[in-house]
Symmetry: C2
Subunit: 156 residues, 2 copies
């Protein structure tokens, strides 16, 4: 029995990443739903609109890394909830320019500090500069996995 046979799932980075991320996602999703009645996808759309209003659905796709079907559904939900309005771009009728309604802006301005507060609670216990160090490492992981995807793994 060599070392190769003693594999510890608990020490496997992709596994730990998945478990923790799912917990974080669930915790945040529940709060957004309970307190504001929106999903994480909808919250991301609002977050982008907060900085880049007005913007098309495709612009949101590029900024959120969500696929276009997911964005389409999130936008539909926000329209139904009266948080967004949309208008056809006169210069290109394929584009739907999205913007906050008054209610949408109020919701956005209420969520932002709440999201920040939740993030602060979440990152308590990471120690000095922990949040920044974590984001740096996460960015390096992201670069690497994108390179893996692009390369098709080379070894295969």
């Amino acid at each position: 029995m060599t070392d190769d046979t003693t594999f510890q799932l608990d020490d496997f980075l992709p596994y730990r990443l998945s478990v923790t991320m799912n917990r974080v996602s669930r915790a945040f999703a529940r709060r957004y739903a309970d307190e504001f009645g929106i999903s994480i996808a909808e919250w991301r759309v609002l977050a982008v609109l907060g900085s880049f209003q007005p913007i098309s659905s495709n612009g949101i796709v590029e900024k959120t890394q969500m696929d276009k079907a997911k964005v389409s559904r999130a936008v539909a939900g926000l329209l139904a909830a009266g948080l967004l309005r949309r208008s056809v771009d006169p210069a290109d009728q394929r584009l739907l320019k999205l913007a906050f309604t008054a209610k949408g802006r109020r919701t956005y301005e209420a969520i932002v500090p709440r999201a920040r507060a939740l993030e602060t609670v979440l990152t308590q216990g990471l120690g000095q500069d922990g949040r920044a160090r974590f984001l740096t490492l996460l960015a390096a992981l992201d670069r690497q996995v994108r390179a893996m995807d692009q390369a098709g793994d080379l070894a295969s």
Copy 2:
């Protein structure tokens, strides 16, 4: 316009965690599927069996953080693929003891070094001790989010 209105999604930890984890998950899932014909859930079951054979489905639930429906489906898939065999525990007929078949063990022993290699590639670029530092920070995050769940957030 105060600072409260300038929210950057790209600097929001839960968002970054979700995006990167999804990329990692997809990259690994594709390789497990292409090279071994199994899903991530099935791989986790194999990984647990590698250390804790024989074990019941419920034991796997506890060790993998997957819910029992997911484990049930993963086990069914592995049984169908001929990688596992199961027998009723004579002492408690509710329990199904799961163990590798010969083929299952061969598959396990082939996947483990491959998974390790993929993790090594993934963590290239994290710098000195980067993997260990990342896992430490991730564990701290995990502790915190579990505390948030338990507390129901206190602030609400």
